[in-house]
């Protein structure tokens, strides 16, 4: 089970590749411009469970209710890091 960090939005080839190659048991964390993925249902672009950083999402002009994935504060981000031994990012 790996934590996959995605920093870029849907126009970036590496972000797309990371999401496409993620496995069901992986956890994806969308940070910075990666949060633009959160506007879409994650089942359309990845098999993994997806989260996004709340601050990054709200700062880009969206309401929390617009996110299609759970939004995390930084203490919760740290928990996600701790839970996943492997890392892709």
């Amino acid at each position: 089970m790996a934590l996959i960090l995605v920093k870029y939005g849907p126009s970036h080839p590496v972000a797309k590749l990371k999401l496409e190659t993620a496995k069901e048991e992986d956890r994806v964390l969308l940070i910075q411009n990666g949060v633009y993925w959160a506007l879409e249902d994650p089942s359309k672009y990845t098999k993994a469970r997806v989260y996004a950083t709340k601050g990054d999402f709200v700062a880009r002009g969206y309401g929390e209710e617009e996110s299609k994935v759970p939004l995390l504060d930084y203490p919760e981000v740290v928990d996600l890091i701790v839970e996943n031994e492997k890392f892709i990012g």
Binding site: A2, P13, L17, E20, T21, K86, F87, I88, G89
Partner: protein, 118 residues
Amino acid sequence: MEKKVLFVAYQSPVGSVWPNEVFRTAFGMYGEDIEPAVLFLDEACVTVSKNTKPELLGLFPLTTCHRLIKRYGTPVYVVKEDLERYNVKEMEEIFNPQILSRVELSDFLHQFDLVIFM
């Protein structure tokens, strides 16, 4: 316990420093119980072309990498579809790259403890 670490570049070796930095970082791992490997994606696949020469523009050459890869034998991987897309026909033998197809990437990336994109 040994850690398997994959360093990935996706930007061009001419016009960006990242393929060179990927090699430099991978070579720096040998002092610890770490097994480094290198993967070139997208435009970075041009790194393994025999005819790629950043020095023609006065940029830092890849020849230092050639010398060090000969010494360390670090595994280098490239993606078949990228080689075709960027028209890489003749590959630099020193890199001895192993060719993966795009569909193999998911299992390949998950073989490593850490995958570091640069």
